[in-house]
């Protein structure tokens, strides 16, 4: 009698097991999508044109990258210094101009963010000769910016170890 129940029960258990695994996979998918690896931006700024076609250096727009902890998004004045005259008929530039005229800053969505307990300085990394693309990838090929590094501690420490940079706790955790 017990034997006749065994098979359907096992079948049920196996199906439930795979069901749970599928749910976990779906959960990983959702968490990956929510992680905002490539979030939409209020203005579709193409790095492809500005970096690859015009050869603008990164600090042409990210003014503080070699002077401060934060690379900084450019002030609208920087964009408008060229776009008062260039491509003014394009929809995205019209959006930009409206922001500028209404004195309303563009609320860019962060692609790279570190937790509060991590101290990171762009200035130090630029001065040490780390190329921007080592952490940010080839942004000149990205129509929409994507996060390419994991930003985990292991990711930071691997590079510090390979370059012989300090690995004391206090280097990054002040």
């Amino acid at each position: 009698m017990t034997h006749s129940y065994r098979k359907p029960l096992l079948l049920l258990a196996v199906t439930a097991y795979f069901g749970v695994l599928l749910l976990i996979a779906a959960g990983l998918w959702v968490s990956w999508q929510r992680a905002g690896v490539a979030p939409d931006q209020p203005i579709a700024f193409p790095h492809t044109i500005h970096v690859s076609k015009l050869n603008l250096p990164c600090n042409f727009c990210h003014l503080f990258v070699d002077r401060s902890r934060h690379a900084g998004a450019p002030p609208l004045e920087t964009c408008m210094s060229c776009h008062r005259a260039i491509a003014t008929d394009r929809e995205e530039i019209k959006k930009l101009t409206r922001h500028y005229e209404e004195k309303r800053p563009v609320e860019w969505n962060r692609v790279y963010s570190l937790p509060e307990h991590v101290y990171f300085s762009h200035k130090r990394h630029v001065k040490a000769g780390v190329d921007c693309s080592e952490c940010h990838g080839k942004v000149g090929t990205m129509k929409k910016i994507r996060r390419v590094g994991t930003l985990t501690m292991g990711w930071c420490v691997s590079c510090h170890r390979a370059r012989g940079a300090p690995r004391d706790c206090t280097t990054c955790h002040k």
């Binding site: 196996v14 795979f18 990983l28 080839k138 170890r161």
Partner: protein, 433 residues
Amino acid sequence: MASWGNLQPLSTQFYSLLQHGLFLVLFFHLPFLGFLIGGSAVSLLLNFLGKEKRDPSYLRFSQELMRTVLMSKSALFLFGLVPLLLVWFAYARVLFDPSPLPWQFWGVLLAALIFGFAFLLLYRSARDRTLDLSPISAATGAAGLLALILAFFLFSAGYGILFNPSKLPLLQKQIQFFLSWNGVVKFLLFLAFFFGMTGAAILLLCGRSAEGGEGTEAGYRRLVHRFGANLTFLATLVLPVFLLLDLVTLPVVALSAEVFVSSAVVLLLSLAVCLTLFLFDGKGEGGPGARVVFLFVLIFLAMLLHDDAAVGNAYQDRVAFLAMQEAVMAETGKEAHREAPAATAQTKADAGKVVFETICAGCHRFDIRVVGPPLSEVVPKYGGDAEKLKAFIRAPVKVNPGYPSMPRLGLPEEEIDAVARYLIEKVKAGGSS
């Protein structure tokens, strides 16, 4: 190794051909290696069990399995060693890097493979001769198996690098960076697949040696079937766990919807394998062997498509960069063709005008401020010195804080020369008029 320095992919098409080709080679190479690892491990286990239980059926099964696994030496060469050379070649190019893994890595991998193959051949011939195997022969088999597992571990670690381009610069500084959690997970994932596949192959191929006419055939077949089914079932339960761990450990750049979908397909196919084992757990010709083997082929295909998509994602920036370079080269080729007759002074002046109108006029006019200052104001500061003006165009520096910095334009020298002369001439003419 310097000779590998110029081994860049020739074009984006060639790159994608190489990338997919790599996975095509792996589609034949890995199952072969997997059956060798799985089959030898099971044969050694059966040998141990047969001696413990004093049951000759186990020993006979161990012998039959080894005969099935190592059918010919030429297959070892063809499916075991040749693909490795192709993988090596494809690696160097797919990674856009001539020597991400030093020759010592490939040397140890190849040596371990050859050592493993040789020792397993010795084990097979000893196994073939007698059911009562000496401990030394069993140890030979175990040594061969361990060598193959070591080779496969190295292969998996190197395979893990394929998904993580940001590791390449680190690898060149310190070799231990070839180890990664993703590489370890891939090793375990493939190992689980190998054992599942071996179980499926046992169900399909073994237990048919009724021709021997040894009697107790039904009992032997039952043993083989039970062993194959249990092995397949257990491996199929474990495999999806490593698949999920693979999703967790893959670098964020390698993930995409395709990667998740192909993982879900592997999960569903694994469920199908388990259900097939339950529903066709029978007897004789209607057994699950062929169906399970077919499902395992599909599982492996989905696993490789998963990896192929992940590598494609990880390298999309580099391939896009390659495509841009191609576009620039095509453009330059056209321009060179167009400017070929630019020999006389007149055409040079025309070339300067063309450069001005296509490049400079976006930001500069002669009479008014656009983005940059009016040229009739700034060009006279060079006092007709074309060399000085050319130096500025080549590498602009910020002069007037009231204007944004002029970007470096990266123009070819002849265009810089032509536009500088054009500007000086034009401003001179404009000033006199």
